[in-house]
């Protein structure tokens, strides 16, 4: 469809493995593919090293000593919370690989703190430090990095995916890269909500994967909201376990809390009652430790002259969508392959249900998944390409974008304001707590009707190969993501993991399955058994699956 755009590419490159996205998942994928002897290019929408959810923040990591007892305890800790959708085999593999990768990071120069015996303590990673090191390691392994080079579409032939095309947003130059295999590591979708580091995460990879014919999984687990000061982007939530929540007059908001009590905060905000927080539960001697351990948590307060331990500050719940949700591209085997040959997925772009079901809790699983799945995907992609041999070179590829891509910006300002309208329209469906956090059949169906219309409208517009076109594609990806989310949410008639149905408030043992979804003009949803309780993986369509 977009042949003229890809042919136009001023920059045209060839490689074995193309990695899309340079966060933890993408950088681990690149290093791991290179270690297998593959030639690798990594492209990032922003800058590999500062872009994505981890870079400005930092993460606790699911790093567990390989002793059997500790591992069993670690696996059990989230199993029920995640709605029993995780699989033991996958948890084992990810725990093993995370342990290995974290030890590697220590050896390669990550400055872990040490315990009193002098042993490095590896429970967390500071984002800026971690991602600066990852960029260095990627470069050291001979991988070529293209920054500010978002992908606009995948390229493929009848044998599978064979590259991608995009634009450099700083030079305006189009580019295209032929590759034997492609790893999607574009992160999740936070719907441009301005959560910390998340505005580059607009679900692009989901859309690319679906356009290539891959499935998604667990898209109902996509309504993560983070507690955050109203005036800030810093969605770090761990410290709110030391918070009390108050109304303006100083009375306590009963039941409000950072974990299970988020709903109480949401209901108050919905009713128009501003909620305030104060970290007054933090013991005095812990305060200096807290200040050092999450420097950026305090940054907005310090810059406003607020002492969060003593002063009340207004809070909101900021949407993080799938970034701290668990849904994403469905993977079909241990190499993180999708069902489309040559296409792999890792990190937040891929489903995390395999290790944490429908809930990520207070983090650490996400970062473990990003570094492990990144390694699996990079290795898998490299092995696939090396088997393919030279046949990749003579392939005749076409662009897969469902919107037609054109080389020139057709109508300048008009398309820009149209994109803004689309973004606003999607946000109006996914941000409100009474639509996305507290879900009902009525609310979901109404939203789906409007989102389907929005998709049709966007689908008809040509998108220019330019920085402006990137935004139009982001808006389309957000619309598509919202549709898979809500179609899946409608099909799950129970409350499980982070998915809450007001009209089905309890868990239903009969629905302990994954929901697979996909499709562009027509969205479909079907079920898939969780491996642990069944030998068969056959899929069955959901009877009431709604289509466009």
């Amino acid at each position: 469809m977009a042949i003229q755009a890809t042919a136009r590419g001023q920059l045209s490159l060839e490689t074995d493995v193309l990695v899309i996205g340079g966060g933890p998942a993408g950088t681990w994928a690149a290093i791991s593919a290179a270690a297998k002897g593959a030639k690798v290019i990594l492209v990032d929408k922003g800058y590999c090293g500062s872009s994505g959810a981890t870079a400005p923040s930092g993460t606790g990591v699911w790093y567990i000593d390989p002793e059997r007892e500790k591992r069993e305890e670690a696996k059990a800790s989230r199993y029920a919370m995640g709605g029993q959708l995780a699989e033991h085999e996958w948890m084992n593999r990810v725990l093993d690989r995370t342990y290995e990768n974290m030890n590697k990071l220590g050896n390669l120069g990550y400055p872990f703190p040490v315990d009193p015996s002098g042993k490095p303590h590896k429970r967390g990673l500071q984002g800026p430090e971690y991602m600066k090191l990852m960029r260095k390691l990627v470069q050291k392994s001979g991988v070529k990095i293209l920054d500010h080079s978002p992908v606009l579409e995948l390229l493929a032939d009848d044998y599978g995916v064979g590259g991608a095309a995009g634009v450099n947003t700083q030079t305006g130059d189009a580019w295209s890269i032929r590759a034997g295999a492609v790893v999607i590591a574009t992160g999740g979708c936070a719907f441009l909500s301005r959560a910390l580091g998340c505005n580059v995460l607009t679900g692009d990879g989901y859309l690319f994967a679906a356009e290539a014919g891959a499935d998604l999984s667990g898209m109902e687990f996509s309504n993560a909201y983070a507690i955050c000061p109203t005036f800030s982007s810093v969605t770090k939530t761990a410290y709110y376990s030391y918070a009390s929540f108050y109304y303006e007059d100083g009375t306590v908001v009963e039941g409000a809390g950072s974990k299970r009590g988020r709903s109480v905060i949401a209901r108050n905000l919905l009713a128009g009652r501003q909620v305030y927080a104060k970290l007054d539960q933090a013991p005095e001697d812990l305060k200096p430790l807290l200040r050092v351990a999450q420097t950026n948590f305090f940054l907005p307060f310090d810059r406003r002259g607020i002492d969060p331990f003593r002063d009340l500050f207004p809070v909101t719940l900021r949407l993080e969508g799938t970034v701290r949700g668990t849904g994403g591209i469905r993977i079909v085997d241990e190499t993180c392959a999708t069902k489309v040959p040559g296409l792999y997925a890792a990190g937040d772009a891929a489903t995390r249900e395999l290790i944490c079901g429908g809930f990520t809790g207070g983090g650490s699983h996400n970062s473990a998944w990003a570094m492990s799945s990144g390694s699996f995907a990079g290795e898998g992609a490299a092995e696939y390409v090396l088997k393919l041999g030279d046949s990749a070179k003579s392939r005749s590829l076409r662009g897969l974008s469902s919107q037609s891509l054109t080389s020139a910006s057709a109508d300048g300002g008009a398309s820009q304001s149209r994109t803004q309208e689309y973004v606003q329209a999607v946000q109006d469906e996914v941000k409100p707590y009474d639509r996305n956090l507290f879900r009902t059949e009525q609310g979901l169906s109404d939203s789906i009707g409007r989102l389907d219309g929005l998709w049709k409208a966007q689908r008809e517009n040509a998108v220019s190969v330019s920085a402006e076109g990137v935004k139009a594609r982001e808006a389309a990806a957000m619309t598509a993501t919202a549709r898979w989310m809500y179609h899946s949410a409608l099909a799950r008639k129970e409350t499980r993991g982070m998915h809450k149905r007001e009209d089905f408030p309890t868990i239903d043992g009969g629905q302990r399955h994954r929901l697979i979804s996909g499709g562009l003009d027509e969205v479909w949803v079907s079920t898939e058994r969780v491996a642990d309780d069944a030998a068969s993986q056959e899929r069955q369509p959901v009877k009431e699956s709604v289509t466009a």
Partner: protein, 110 residues
């Protein structure tokens, strides 16, 4: 959002232009980058961390411009404060290594 590029401090290295994930800056004709797309700023503070001479200030408000000036920031000592805390820059120790990281992790599980 990003609000200030200090004309007096900037050494025109264009690091900020490179590292900003949402491409907010343009290279300036006089060598000093300009905030060209302020509305795209995601308030991630990364440009501040990468600026070698503490010439940038990102104000904490993610939705609107607060209108701070370089003089005010100088007076309040707010330029470069984040980089110092993170322990980046010559002669500093990265906060990642800080003993409190270990202590907090043992005490609270973070």
């Amino acid at each position: 959002m990003i609000e200030v590029v200090s004309q007096s401090r900037c050494v025109s290295c264009n690091q900020c232009v490179s590292v900003c994930p949402t491409n907010v800056f343009d290279k300036g004709e006089d060598g000093i980058p300009v905030i060209a797309r302020q509305d795209d700023c995601q308030t991630c503070f990364m440009c501040e961390l990468y600026c070698p001479v503490d010439a940038l200030y990102v104000s904490p408000d993610s939705e609107g411009v607060m209108g701070v000036t370089e003089e005010e920031l100088e007076q309040q000592g707010l330029l470069g404060g984040y980089r110092e805390k993170v322990g980046w820059g010559r002669g500093r120790v990265p906060v990642a290594k800080h003993d409190y990281m270990y202590q907090l992790s043992v005490r609270s599980g973070f």
